[in-house]
């Protein structure tokens, strides 16, 4: 080898080694002391071993104001590149808090949008690890331009490739809107902080005192706001969740779940699902046991686990094929639809539909949550999202009515009228225009009022109504339910239906796009 080449390679190695140190050993130490992994540790934990190829390591910022021309920022505070997860390629960017607090300037943002464009061109998922103090103020309006360009790319890529945001540090102000535009937001306890205006601003402007954790910590977003879809106790756990999700979902909207796995029976302890369902329809049960009794290997990845727990949504496999599961949860708030659960369900349906994932709905829904707060906060327009999403979805739609399916809830939860492809009901199903008590009160108002003992008459009429209508056979009589089945045959029926729906195709009315009740 000639000497000139050797010298240049040594120079390259030296430059790379220096840039790999990010903000320097002291800054990296500070990162570790804050209980956070460094950017390289994170990328190693996320991707397959030795699969990461960095792009844009030498990018420099172009800012000359406020003495910035003398400041060197390794990789401009963000590591970008490609790698694989379980052998499948992905694009990644990870903000480096050790470099100027991970602050976002134009070069930093352009590195991000470049890797996003790459992900779009190659039709692979894009994963962003956010750990940034916010806009790099010295860069002025260019920092805002950077955010704006990222938002535009997020929106363009929406529904084409999976976009995953990982919050591993602060993510405040404008920065929050990139994660909010992506498909799945992952947060880590005590590490993630997300808010539009921080505790200090809120105190100054409004006089309200609140800590960072209570305002925008991981738990708040996983349980109260619903901004986060996955919550982890540690960064390691979070990366394991991301890898699990990416093994389940298709990697672009053009691919069916190409990695169909061999079918696998549910675990023995869940196989007999009847045992999880109480005899009394007013007794709660955990619907997740039913889901586990139906899915392959009883393996279910729940999305939005802590948020709006009266609904359960998530991914699993049925006969080897990825499916999206939506279920009412009788264990929490009796499984009612309310504003939060409507938002949760509607968004999940749209995700599945965009990526060609069949939908399986398990229904046990006594109605909508009554209350002034629900009405005033807009249950009408939020509830409408569920209808819109189910009607609009053209993927295979399979419905199992387990117990209660009353009124608007019956219609909304992927009924035949929303163009469900297959509707099954268990013998325990109660499908009617409204619950027996409410219906008897209206239909037999006169009889009850004029009876000698109105209370006894009321009870009698409720019983009569129950006997006549609180069952699946009236709906099955109209063909709204295709078949009433033994609950233990649910998996078998769903698999047969799913296989025959494999080539489902639906002619869609030509339009630019609909106007969902956002």
């Amino acid at each position: 080898m000639n000497n000139g080449m050797q010298t240049k390679i040594e120079d390259l190695d030296a430059q790379v080694q220096k840039l790999y140190l990010g903000g320097g050993e002291a800054a990296l130490q500070k990162q570790r002391e804050a209980g956070k992994m460094t950017v390289t540790e994170r990328i190693d934990a996320l991707l397959d071993p030795d699969s990461f190829q960095e792009l844009g390591l030498f990018v420099k910022h172009q800012c000359h104001d406020f003495g910035m021309d003398k400041k060197e920022m390794a990789a401009d505070g963000v590591v970008t590149g490609i790698g694989t997860i379980e052998g499948r390629p992905v694009c990644v960017y990870a903000q480096d808090f050790s470099v100027a607090g991970g602050s976002l300037g134009l070069a930093h943002a352009r590195k991000i949008t470049k890797v996003m464009e790459l992900a779009m061109d190659m039709k692979v998922p894009c994963i962003g690890i956010n750990d940034s103090g916010g806009a790099r103020i010295q860069e002025g309006i260019n920092a805002l331009a950077g955010y704006g360009e990222i938002f535009f790319h997020n929106t363009t890529a929406s529904g084409v490739i999976p976009q995953i945001s990982v919050i591993m540090g602060p993510c405040a102000g404008g920065a929050v809107y990139s994660p909010a535009l992506t498909d799945f937001v992952f947060v880590v306890d005590k590490v993630s902080k997300m808010f539009i205006t921080g505790p200090e601003v809120i105190k100054t402007v409004l006089g309200e005192e609140i800590g960072m954790e209570e305002l925008g910590g991981a738990r708040v977003h996983a349980e109260t706001t619903g901004n986060a879809h996955f919550f982890a106790e540690s960064e390691q756990e979070c990366f394991a969740q991301i890898r699990k999700l990416l093994a389940l979902i298709p990697h672009s909207n053009e691919k069916q779940t190409e990695d169909r796995r061999p079918a696998c029976e549910p675990k023995a302890e869940y196989a007999n699902i009847i045992k999880f369902v109480p005899d009394d329809p007013r007794q709660p049960f955990d619907v997740r046991n039913i889901v586990l009794g139906v899915l392959d290997d009883s393996d279910f990845l729940e999305v939005h686990q802590g948020f709006a727990q009266n609904a359960v949504v998530g991914f699993g496999r049925l006969n080897g094929q990825t499916v999206g599961v939506i279920a009412n949860q009788p264990m929490v708030l009796a499984g009612v639809l309310d504003i939060d659960s409507s938002d949760k369900i509607a968004r999940f349906i749209r995700y599945c539909d965009a990526f060609n994932i069949p939908l399986i709905t398990f229904e046990d829904m006594p109605g909508y949550l009554p209350g002034v707060d629900q009405e005033h906060a807009g249950i009408i327009r939020h509830g409408a999202k569920v209808l819109y999403a189910y009607c609009e979805a053209t993927v295979p739609k399979l419905t199992v009515i387990m117990r209660k399916a009353y009124g608007g809830g019956y219609i909304a939860m992927c009924s035949r009228h929303m163009k469900a492809d297959f509707v099954y009901a268990w013998p325990t199903a109660e499908i009617a225009v409204m619950g027996p008590a409410g219906a008897a009160n209206i239909i037999f108002r006169k009889d009850i009022k004029e009876a000698k003992d109105p209370a006894a008459m009321r009870e009698q009429k409720i019983e009569e109504y129950k006997e006549k209508f609180a069952n699946p056979y009236v709906a099955a009589g109209y063909g709204y339910v295709d078949m009433v089945i033994n609950p233990n045959d649910t998996r078998k029926n769903l698999i047969q239906a799913l296989e025959m729906a494999r080539n489902k195709s639906v002619e869609q009315v030509k339009k630019k796009h609909g106007i969902p009740p956002f």
């Binding site: 309200e208 709660p284 009266n310 708030l333 005033h376 409204m434 619950g435 008590a437």
Partner: protein, 101 residues
């Protein structure tokens, strides 16, 4: 199953768990006829007197807040019962400004 509570729905009672968000709900009460400061700030002008008849949309006061001189208007017709503010006064969030009869 733990922490089961009773939830009252249209069709009767259900045993179920209640979420923290549900438990934190505030019961509804009819709004008082008092115009309050939605954001803290400084009163720049007071435009009504006690006993004055105002119409919906009439300006009541000017509140300097969020880099803006905000004109606070009456949301309904009515007669001013009490004016809580004077020019130059700092008001906090939800501070009463003008009360109607």
């Amino acid at each position: 199953m733990d922490n089961l509570n009773i939830l009252h729905l249209e069709d009767g009672e259900y045993q179920t768990q209640l979420t923290e968000k549900y438990l934190k709900r505030k019961p509804y009460s009819a709004p008082e006829p008092i115009v309050k400061a939605a954001i803290p700030g400084t009163i720049m002008e007071v435009l009504v007197k006690e006993g004055q008849q105002v119409k919906r949309g009439d300006a009541l006061c000017v509140l300097d807040s969020m880099k803006m001189n905000n004109t606070i208007c009456a949301s309904d017709n009515g007669v001013v019962k009490k004016v809580y503010i004077t020019v130059g006064q700092s008001v906090g969030k939800n501070a009463p400004l003008v009360e109607f009869k």
